[in-house]
Amino acid sequence: MSEYSPDVVRKLEEKANQMRQDIVVMVGAAQSGHPGGSLSAADIVAALYFNVMRYDVKNPKWADRDRFVLSKGHASPVLYAALAEAGFFPRAEIITFRNINSHLQGHPDMKKLAGVEFTTGSLGQGLSGAGGMAIAGKLDKKDYRVFCMIGDGESEEGQIWEAAMSAAHYKLDNLTAITDWNGLQIDGPNAEIMNVNPLPDKWRAFGWNVIEIDGHDFTQILDALSPESRVEGKPTMIIAKTVKGKGVSFMENACDWHGKAPSEEQVKTALAELCA
């Protein structure tokens, strides 16, 4: 395991904390949205946008940029929080999330918001889209990386496994996917609704380079996302064990917070906890 300076880790902790606050504010203001799976993904998305990925806020279509596809599009608040923090749009606008005329649609819309690389929301499609971007990168002999986050519940979609096959078949070692393995979906635990396990074995069997991490440990996250963790000729799948609702105690590991907005009082409680 690599050593990262305390400054690097502290900076990412601060970014992730700010993003979690924004997620709570956004979903609270909209009185709709998906806080649980946004909070579980926050640390990984923070690492991508504030340490790992190469991009230019002033030139969002820069051909050599790294790309991030949020295949689990309902976690749009975590993406919007990262894009606001990175400077793609003013943070003040997060309170327009899910409102009429906002560019912050319920699920990410690449036509409405710069920095969104792929329109997602219908589960299972984003990983295929990321595969297409990785193929294009190979054709153009570019060295950009493509990152894609999927959900564990999303892994129940057949298209995920179609994409798993083709990414391995076309040897897309410029593609790194992350499974946000928080174990819960709308109707209950994955294990009860539709068992997706054993996830790591499945991805290995499909020909991927599989890395298992704690999705809230920045040292492990940075190690897994680093270029050195890749294997030539294979796409990489990082299976990140996470806690749904992470950072807001009353939301943690509770299915109910998959797609429910906190009340004004609950927003205050959550923010007080995050700011403590």
């Binding site: 036509k111 219908s122 889209g129 297409g132 054709l139 057949g158 298209q159």
Partner: protein, 316 residues
């Protein structure tokens, strides 16, 4: 007898030519490249041909991803899979973000023949044209196909093009100027307007010949672009003749007939008869036998034209 060319053959040849001219063109297939004729492109440009195996949904979303990087993906499979199996991918990954993906579906309609109902796409035009941002094209012969393939490669945006399996008579000249969104009056007439697409345009021309012998002057309009529809040409023709017939190798619900009816009711309500596949699942058989059984021959178009004229006269 006119020369016959399958529109899928014209597609394969043109695609390979385009491959030489534009390095951004990439071709995707789902284990049917020999049938869709993308194998012609594959032989010439193996590095730009991607077979996704029997996984059409993944193929379409991959095409969308490639389009975000400036590629011009042509994704092909049979029409029944290219429209039905991938509808949500086309909707969410292609049309909503308005990405530059060309879905070229071969084996449209009942003339797929012997494979039977599972493989006969009689609903694809309806379920594609309802999607915002998409352009839907059904060429009538090999020449129109070749021109249309070039036109959609130059056009930026989602396209669904529907081609056929069997040979169809060549009805256009080599210097025909195809334009997306432009219907073409193939034969002028004053008594009835026949709006047709795909292999039914040749049948409509034959029907017009039959009607001429009876003293009926039928106008035949080839409506290759079903979306966006050439409203002006359609309304002008219907105003002139006062009654209409639609003819398509597709369900009489929601396809060309549906699109024409929507247009006429807005701009020039006249009586209209629809020739096409009735609201039923069709069956195995050779293409000719199927067209006969399901009422889609030149004679059926002529009957519909007479009926439409009769309605017009009764209403006067």
């Amino acid at each position: 007898m006119a020369e016959k060319i399958a529109t899928r053959d014209a597609y394969g040849e043109t695609l390979a030519e385009l491959g030489k001219e534009n390095p951004n063109i990439v071709v995707l297939d789902a284990d049917l490249s020999k049938s869709t004729k993308t194998n012609v492109f594959q032989k010439a440009f193996p590095d730009r041909h991607f077979n996704f195996g029997i996984a059409e949904a993944n193929m379409i979303s991959n095409a969308a991803g490639m389009a975000t990087c400036g590629k011009i993906p042509f994704a092909s499979t049979f029409a029944v899979f290219a429209s039905g199996r991938t509808w949500d991918q086309i909707r969410a990954s292609v049309c909503y973000p308005e990405l530059n993906v060309k879905i070229v579906a071969t084996h449209g309609g009942i003339t797929v023949g012997e494979d039977g109902a599972t493989h006969q796409a009689n609903e694809d035009i309806a379920i594609m044209r309802v999607l915002p941002n998409i352009t839907v094209i059904v060429p009538a012969d090999g020449i129109e196909t070749a021109k249309a393939v070039r036109a959609i490669a130059d056009y930026k945006g989602p396209v669904y093009m529907r081609l056929g399996r069997s040979g169809v008579p060549v009805i256009f000249d080599a210097d025909y100027d195809f334009q997306i969104g432009k219907a073409v009056v193939m034969r002028e007439g004053t008594d009835v307007s026949i709006f047709a697409c795909g292999l039914m345009t040749a049948q409509a021309l034959e029907a017009a010949e039959t009607l001429t012998a009876e003293g009926i002057s039928a106008e035949v309009v080839n409506v290759a672009t079903i979306k966006p529809l050439d409203v002006e040409t359609i309304i002008m023709s219907a105003r002139k003749t006062g009654c209409a017939v639609s003819a398509e190798e597709h369900s009489i619900i929601g396809g060309l007939g549906g699109a024409i009816a929507e247009t006429l009711i807005d701009g020039c309500p006249v009586h209209m008869e629809r020739v096409g596949v009735p609201d039923t699942f069709t069956e195995s058989g050779n293409p000719k036998a199927l067209l006969d059984k399901y009422g889609m021959t030149a004679a059926d178009i002529a009957t519909a034209a007479r009926l439409s004229i009769q309605f017009k006269q009764e209403c006067i």
